[in-house]
Amino acid sequence: MSGLYRLLLHLYPKAFRHEYGEEMTDDFARTTAHAGSLGKAGLLMKAVADVGGNAFVVHWNILRQDLGYTARTWNRGRGFALTAMLVTALGVGANTAAFSVADFVLLRPLPFPDAEAIVRLCEGPREGGGWGCMNQLSPANYRDFKTQNSSLISIGAFGGSSINLVGIGEPRRIAIATVTPELLPVLGVQPIRGRVFGPSDQDRDAVVISYGLWQSQFSGDRDVVGRVVNLDGGVRTIIGVMPRGFYFPARETEMWSALTLEPDDYANRANSYIEAVGRLKPGVTFEQARADLRAIATRLSQQYPDTNAETGISFYRMRENMSPRFRTMLLGLGGASLCLLLLTCANLANLLLARAASRERELAVRAALGAGRERLMRQLITESVAIAVLGGAAGIGVALVCIPLFSSLVPPTLPVANQPALDLRVLAFALLSTAAIGLGFGLFPALRGRRSGFAALRDGARTTGGRTQRVRSVLVTVEVMLSVGLLIVTGLLGRAVWRVQAIAPGFRSEDVLTLQTALPRPKYDDPVRRGQFYEQVLPGVRALPGVQSAGFISGLPIAMPALITGVEVPGQPVRDRRLSGVSHRWITPQYFETMGIPLIRGRDVEITDTAARQWVAVVSASFVARYWPGQDGIGKTFKHLGKERTVVGIVGDVKVRGLERTSEPQLYVPALQCPDGLPPQFDPKALVVRHSGAPDSLMGPIRQIVRAADPEQPISSVRPMDDVVASVTADRRAQLQLLGAFAIVAVLLCGVGIYGLLAYSVAQRSQEIGVRLALGAEPSQVGRMIFADGMRLTLIGIVPGAVGAYFAGRAMQALLFGITPSDPMTFTTAIAAALLMAFAGSVLPVLRAVRVSPTSVLKAE
């Protein structure tokens, strides 16, 4: 019994146990002496509660004393405490924010039940391929995959488009997805109101709306189910509302309507415009399902060689629907923030070591007055942990501010919100990093404090700093290493971003305003009616003060990289549109002039290019180079969507697919020369306006002009063309800005580290310096000696830092856009910056060393 009780006493602090342990055990033994075995067990249970409760109070009292003492020490040296907390807050904040985003994008399951089993299916090339949906499916291929596979429980198809919502306030353009009845059940998310689409044809005119649309357009009306809305001039009934946080297929999608495939839709296997989502059968692995679907694709390519000879599948988990570059960027960012965390720890350890060294005498005096070692260590750890906890709390604040800055690193293709919410995982991570910092830098000085004993008192004023100094030198070297690494990686990525931004897009984006006026069908089925709309809008816009030119196009370059088609050139073999398509757009006159795309030869499309006249086309220089190499393209003919066209103009090439990607040759055709039955995505709907002066003043008059032409016509996506171009590099720039901020903080911390170390070393060596000066050394020699100390540490740190950065650069090569990971300019600049930082950190300590007066130092001795 007494043995057990003694064991229990370990809950108390050691000092308390030593002081009262024997007495307590003795008292306990007397109390239990006369009890029976049952009574003894009861008393033991009581003792557990008694010792546990009282031990807690004793610990709590000590903690209160230590915190009080800590507060008094901080009050004496506020600079130290504030610096330490700020540094912790930065380390924890940056890491927590980077972790939240990386976790959100890379690790956390998507917000669907059993999300890992959800897969996406598209057509793709037979061999190889990139990420995501390579080519959409044709309904016929979709049907065959659906009926012939044996690995999916269920599979549904969807298509995307946008639609005009009229009659509730200002007309609005909203993104809508058409989905087959199987699709929403495949995702497994239940509506919060009403229902989703039924299997029969009954829901042809029904829509399901998103939570966001329910709130914004219907003010969260509880009776929204059954309400009728006017969409693109047609009447639809709302049958359900999806829950908050349900996104599919994209974040912007606010409405879902039923996709019903008619027998006609299955006629042409080459007409691909849907994508599929399925759920793996339990027990079927992703790889098994892929093999199953591949086999079906092979069978189809043998059965239908005309259309399917080159058709394979792109099959991937829904989670993987993002560019691999996001993974690289987020991992890079995670690595950088870990570096910052390490640097933070090194910096704080350095600060605390310096402080512990200067407090060695104080601690020795306290030890001499009877404070036990355990008690002193506990005091030191309490101080460190208090800094870590306060800094960590501030760090969560820093993270909350930082997380929105990371939102452009969340891939827009993932069906998740654009930024993570602060949740338990994130808080746990913040707690972990705080603990890492608290222990990482708190234990060093405490362990040193343990060794100090009475040595400090014996040595008089001189402190025993040799070992501390060595540890601190190592820490400073590590700081240099990490900050050089961060500097170089940031430099490499920065050079890559500048290189991407320096690419000429082929048009002049400045002073061009863009907006969308999507014309609803069936109201605008007739191309003549569409022509009337353009004729009403364009002259009015062109007449506005400050407007130089204006035109319409089916889709803006970069913003709309799709719209790829094939053409047939007489005397040349027909090329597969998937392998060598062209980008095609319907335009009105003045589009080229507005966008600043040079007309190399021939003419622009004209208002007289109607369906009744010769069908013409304007093509880009690369179009001519592909089909008629070495010839003049003007006057050449080719077939496009079944119609023969004659080339009347040649224009400069444009980066339709964005700055970093190769673009197809471009084909532009007049808006009014349009084959019947062309789907609405080919209508010219993007209005581009070249203007001088502020674009804001234009929007009011443009709205009036559009309203006069059609009061039900919404205007959406108003933005300068500059923004469209900038959006291509938005994710890169966000990553770069964050890394840049990390690198700057790292360099500053490192400079402070070098300064602290040298300043302390000068203070400690003042006697030695005094003696040297007294013996005839020149002050400049002494200055050089201190300066050399700082430089030596810096150089030792630079080498591993540069090597590490080279390997980090290699891992991120996909982001470097042709910049080599050993780019000499970046390395030179970064190393120069590190040396400059070391120099700046050394200036004050060197001056202090030079100014040491031999007489006063020796007098003090």
């Binding site: 308390f16 002081e19 009262y20 007495e23 307590m24 003795d26 008292d27 306990f28 007397r30 109390t31 009581k46 003792a47 008694d50 010792v51 409760g53 009282n54 031990a55 109070v57 004793v58 009292n61």
Partner: protein, 122 residues
């Protein structure tokens, strides 16, 4: 008693239940821990039995506050002296504080009785 002493005593009031009982137990003479437990139990007719945990935590606190000290040799021990045990002795300040607490409680009881009398008569 000076004004400073008065302030020092007031700062320590009110005493916790266990503190007051330990000071009362020690006012009869030096005593070891187990003796205090027994004394308190006897004085309260078994209503209060201090556990070792509470006892020594409180003693530690009383020692820190200077209300109790550890004599080298116990004088006037309560019961039979046991040389293996550690003895505790109430200090002058401890006595003053215990008296002040007694006074405080007396005042409190007087006030409470008055309140009840008024309540019953109205």
């Amino acid at each position: 008693m000076t004004i400073d002493d008065r302030d020092e005593i007031d700062a320590l009031l009110p005493l916790q239940h266990a503190e007051f009982h330990i000071l009362l137990a020690l006012s009869g003479g030096d005593c070891h821990g187990y003796g205090i437990i027994q004394d308190v139990e006897a004085r309260t007719n078994g209503a209060l039995r201090l556990s070792p945990g509470t006892l020594y935590r409180t003693i530690q606190r009383l020692l820190e506050q200077g209300l109790v000290e550890e004599p080298r040799k116990p004088a006037r021990p309560v019961g039979k002296s046991d040389p293996r045990r550690r003895y505790y002795r109430i200090t002058r300040l401890g006595t003053a504080v215990a008296r002040a607490e007694t006074q405080r409680l007396t005042e409190l009881v007087r006030l409470a009785k008055h309140v009840w009398r008024v309540a019953e008569s109205s």
